[in-house]
Every structure is written in C-alpha cells, then in structure tokens.
C-alpha cells in the first residue's frame, strides 16, 4: 500500500473510535507505565490519528514512535472494543501505522532495528549465521523434510529455538513426543524465519520477500501440513501468508497436534505429574486465534495434575510483553515488566508451575521468576516438556 493509502485506511479505522476508553482497562501498557490514558490502546491510535490528520511537528516524532512501537499487539483492546463498544480494529490501525512510520523512516525503535537488519542479512532476527543454524537443525536427529519418506508433517521449529538453549530444550521435548507418537515428520534444514518480526514491526516489503521464499519452499517440497513450535509462526502462516498460496496446507500449533495425538491414543500419558500448575494463555494462540481449549485438554490429560486458573485467563490473559517486536526492545516510559506481574499472580495462586506454549512467554516468565526472586518455588515449564514427563517411565 502507498503512504497515502495507509494514511487513509488508518484515519478511516480510527475515526470510528468513540473515545469510550473501555480498551484502556485491559491494555497491558497501562500496567507497566504511569498508566496515563495516552499510554496505550486508544491513546495510541488517537495520537497517531492526530499526528496524521494535522501533520504534527517533527519534535514529537520520537515520542510518537515509542508510543506506537511499545504496543505488544496483544489484541486485548480489540476484543474489548468488539464486546463492549463499537468494534474498532485498533490493531489494524497500529499495524498500518507502523508500516507508515517505517516507510517514513520514523521507526521502529532503535533496539528493534537490529532484528530487522539481521533478518535481511541472515534470515533470522538473532544474527545467527546460516551455517550455525543448519548445524543445529542437523543435530536434532530429525530427517530433512525433502528426504523424509512419506512425511506427513513439517515441524517448523522457529528462530528462537535455534538461538536460545532453553527453547532448544522445548524443541527437543516436542521432537521426542512426535517420535513416541510415531508421527512421520521432517524439518527444513534450511529453515529461515517465518517473517513474523517484519510483519509486526511494519517492514512490509521484507516480509513479502520472506513469505515468497517460504511459499516456494513449501510448494517445491510438497508440504501439506505444518506444525509450529511458536504461536507467532502459527499466526503468521495462518493470517499473514496469502491464503490463495497456502491453500491445501494445514497449519497447526503443536498444542493442537498433541491434543489430536492424545485423543487418537497415539500418546499415552501414564506417569503422574503431581503438581499444581497454571496455564498462561499466549496472546497469539488465544486472543489472536481463539485457541483456549486445546492446550487445556492436553494438560488435563496428565494424570495427577492440578490445574488452577489465573484470575486473568483465556481471553483476559495478561500479555507477557514479548509480542509486537517488544521481545527486542524496552521503551523509555516502561517502569515494570509484565512478566513480573504475571509471576506474582502465579505465586498468589499457590501455583508451583507456570505452563507456557510460546517461546517468548517462556523466556519472559523465566526472567520474571528471576527478577521477582522465586526460583525455588515457581518453575516455568512448556507444555511439551510437561507431556514428555507424563509419558516417560518414572524412576
């Protein structure tokens, strides 16, 4: 879209905002800043609206940029507006504003440039050299998708698993589960980013380049079923890739596959896991794609497990702070971290474990546990790891 088209779209969307401010009550940014109305949700969209309509002075552009790029895109404002007000798609306005800003060279925030630069240079936001990533993928003991005989599932590991050792653990746990269930799967040894950071940060052109490369790979290797580790890859494939080109490709998050496998009796959970756990709904499974039950069904089939719910759960879940390109950036007005708040919520529930289904949530929650200083009483464990401990023999 041209700048003019973007501008018009943004103005069209935000013009419907009636300034009821119901969205502010659920915007996580207000929990971690001084909590002024201008700091989140409609505060952001109205500020952008004003700036676009009245061509605000350059001296405000950094403040506007930080406001716009501090949003974690958790979608709580959109859900709230749909349920209780006029149904403005604030997130659409924010996405388009980011594209507008990036094209004007006013954004993203300085710390967010690096993931974009690395994506352009090396195909992942962490600056891993392709050879490093290839080595890692080879070492998983999983066949390359193109060579696997009658592979049914393409397991899409994602950039964070190849870069962060903690998430590598999760990937390995998931691989063991798929092997135990005798799923015929493969990975792309030359896997690169799904393009999520480029979409979320408004770098549309690069996003489309990456999308085309990936679609070529999927088509040339006859991919029919993709299962992702990360809800971000899942959401990007499902909602950002052109639907016409993804026709015939089933896209699932692994929590959905695990639910299917357990239902089909291909994964038998016999070992008890006697822990009091609470499940943290990731924004990109929950509010973005309405997936609340599959992970809960999976957890519920673990013998001995005791599941307690956060007060703010399911569609009310508190964002961990990692989405929208915020995994790479802090912002000036930030005074607290969302993960710290969430950890304290878990402690007050008496939970021993926070269960996650997203690499960003896992990393952020573990940081939160360290910051709050409760490593001895609260662990952060991924669903795949928990299921694995339920199928392994005890002792």
């Amino acid at each position: 879209m041209s700048q003019e088209e973007l501008k018009q779209d943004i103005l069209d969307v935000v013009t419907n905002c009636v300034k009821c401010r119901f969205c502010l009550a659920v915007c996580p940014l207000l929990d971690i800043t001084k909590g002024w109305q201008g700091q989140g949700a409609s505060g952001i969209t109205l500020a952008i609206y004003t700036a676009l309509k009245w061509e605000v002075e350059r001296e405000y552009k950094e403040a506007l940029r930080d406001l716009l790029f501090s949003c974690t895109t958790c979608r709580n404002c959109v859900v709230r507006c749909q349920e209780t007000s006029v149904g403005v798609d604030l997130l659409d306005a924010i996405d388009k504003s980011r594209q507008f800003f990036v094209e004007e060279m006013y954004g993203p925030m300085p710390q967010q440039k690096k993931p974009l630069e690395f994506l352009e240079r090396y195909g992942n936001p962490y600056g891993m050299l392709p050879s490093e990533r290839k080595e890692w993928m080879k070492g998983l003991g999983v066949p390359d998708y193109s060579e696997a005989t009658a592979a049914e599932v393409l397991l899409y590991i994602g950039c964070t698993a190849t870069h962060d050792p903690r998430i590598a653990d999760v990937a390995r746990a998931l691989i063991q589960l798929l092997k135990a269930a005798q799923v015929k799967f493969g990975i792309l040894e030359d896997e690169t980013c799904c393009a999520c950071p480029t979409f979320r940060l408004g770098e549309q052109f690069l996003a489309e380049e990456i999308v085309q490369e990936n679609i070529s790979k999927f088509k040339s290797r006859g991919v029919k079923h993709i299962v992702t580790l990360s809800p971000h890859c899942f959401d990007t494939f499902l909602n950002n890739y052109p639907k016409s080109e993804m026709q015939g490709i089933k896209v699932q998050h692994y929590s959905q596959l695990l639910r299917d496998l357990i239902k089909q009796g291909r994964l038998v959970l016999k070992s008890k896991v006697e822990k009091k756990v609470t499940y943290h709904d990731p924004c990109y499974l929950g509010r973005h794609n309405d997936i609340y039950e599959a992970p809960r069904e999976v957890l519920g089939s673990i013998p001995g497990i005791k599941l307690v719910e956060f007060n703010r759960c399911k569609a009310d879940s508190l964002c961990c702070g990692g989405g929208g390109g915020r995994m790479w950036a802090d912002f000036e007005a930030e005074e607290e971290r969302l993960a710290n708040i969430r950890v304290r919520e878990a402690i007050s529930l008496g939970a021993e474990v926070i269960v996650t289904a997203c690499p960003f949530c896992l990393i952020n929650m573990e940081d939160g546990v360290k910051s709050v200083g409760v490593e001895d009483s609260l662990k952060v464990i991924d669903i795949a790891e928990l299921i694995l401990s339920a199928i392994e023999e005890q002792g």
Binding site: R58, M105, K114, F118, R121, L129, P130, E203
Partner: protein, 259 residues
C-alpha cells in the same frame, strides 16, 4: 548547503566472535561467504547527522567511499536513507591503503567533485579503528575540523558542534567549509525501509579509478595481525548456596590480595 559524507564498507562486526577469523599472511580478516558486508556504524551516524541537517535546511548530500565494487551497495543504502548521490572510488591500486593513503584519495575525490560546505565522517572505522581519516582529509583540504561531535548545527555560514570530551561537552564554532567527525552520541541512524533499499538498488553509482585519482603511498605498514590467546582459566567458586559462594569469593579475593 552541500554536504559530503565519507563511508566505509566493513565485515559485519556483529557476527559471533567464533566466526571472526584472520588471515595472518595477508594481514586482514577473512570474509566468510555467508558473512555480510555492511556500512561502518560511525559512518552511518555521520550520514544521519547530514540527514538531520537536510531535514531542516535545503541541502544536497554526496556519499563517497573508497573501497571494492561491493561498496556500491552501502552507497545505495545511504541513498535509500536520503542521500542524493554517491561516488565510489575503486581500483586495485588503492588496495592496501593505510589511513594516510585513504585520506589522500578521499581528499582528492572531494576536491574533484564539488565545493562542499561541510564534510562529515565517522570518528573511526569499524574494522581497523585507526581514527585518522577524517582529520587527515581536513588537513589535506586545509579546512578546520572538530572530532567526536555529539550534536551538529549549521547557521549563518558557521557550524556549531557540541563536542564530547572526557568529562562533559564543549561547544565549538567554526566557519564553513569545515569537517566534523561523529561518534555514537550523535544518535541513531534512521532505518531505511527495504522498499527504499530495493528502489535505491537501481541507482547507478559512478566509479572513479586510479585514472581519475592518483593513488598515494601509505606511510604506515602493518607487520603482524593476530588474535590474542586467552590464557586465563577461570576458577569457579564453590559453595552450598549462592550466598556461600559470595562469601567464598570474598575470601578468595583476599587471598589474591585484591581486597
């Protein structure tokens, strides 16, 4: 206002250190095929400083680089960011230029191209870290210079530079034409969208060779290049708990006469 910005292409300095390898014979770092070439960070900031001037004052920015053919890519990226044009100075005769020879060639190119009001450079190049080319170009052109600018303003034929010094800042005024070198305090370079980058990739960049600019004889020579070995073996302090480890650390340091 005519501004020249000198930029240099270097190996991506952000690759993991295990991917950093040198050729001790050729006395330079090895470019692995998968490692990208990028613009030296301080030079990108020098361009940003020029762009900020252009944001408020009608200016024309010319980017100049002494380097290989591939350096045209970084010149084009500067154009994507908002520079008006670029010139590559490239020739095998310029290979193995030291800071002096580089400054000579750039100064000649600058003289040949235009009457610039202001020349901006990074404070030091991201690979060799020698920090001389900017001041050297100014000396060869016979114009005043200031290094390590944290802020630059132009008005009334003068440049007002806020210079970063050890314990604060100094504001220095100079008449134009002048040269200023720029450090990280100048701020973040703007991010050019990939759409702009792809657009700029179509731009023709003229190359000047040794036929246009006479090479200069280097004054300094590199006699060896090596990666220092890390001999220290870290002694990890034991303890039943982090608290105890802390306590034991203090005792170890007392033993080592550090406290």
């Amino acid at each position: 206002m005519k501004i020249a910005v000198c930029v240099r292409e270097i190996l991506d300095p952000e690759i993991p250190s295990k991917a950093f390898k040198i050729d001790a014979e050729a006395k330079r770092a090895i470019k692995l095929p998968e490692v990208e070439l990028v613009i030296s960070d301080y030079d990108a900031r020098a361009l940003e400083a020029a762009l900020r001037i252009k944001d408020s004052l009608e200016s024309e920015i010319t980017v100049m680089s002494l380097g290989a053919e591939s350096a045209k890519d970084i010149i084009r990226r500067c154009i994507a960011m908002g520079a008006d044009e670029g010139i590559l100075v490239s020739d095998p005769a310029f290979d193995d230029s030291d800071s002096f020879a580089t400054a000579c060639v750039l100064a000649e190119a600058i003289k040949k191209q235009n009457n610039f009001d202001l020349i901006l450079c990074g404070i030091q190049e991201g690979d060799w870290d020698s920090g001389q080319v900017g001041s050297g170009v100014a000396e060869l052109l016979g114009i005043p210079s200031v290094t390590r600018a944290g802020n630059i303003e132009v008005n009334d034929g003068k440049v007002v530079v806020e210079r970063v010094v050890t314990d604060g800042r100094e504001t220095v005024e100079m008449l134009l034409p002048a040269l200023v070198t720029v450090s990280s305090e100048i701020g973040e370079p703007r991010y050019p969208s990939i759409r702009r980058v792809r657009e700029a990739a179509k731009k023709e960049i003229p190359t000047w060779t040794a036929a246009d600019i006479a090479p200069a004889i280097p004054r300094s020579e590199i006699v060896s290049l090596f990666i220092p070995s890390r001999e220290a073996e870290c002694e990890f302090i034991a303890g039943e708990s982090p608290e105890e480890m802390g306590s034991n650390l203090a005792l170890k340091l007392r033993e080592a006469k550090a406290i």
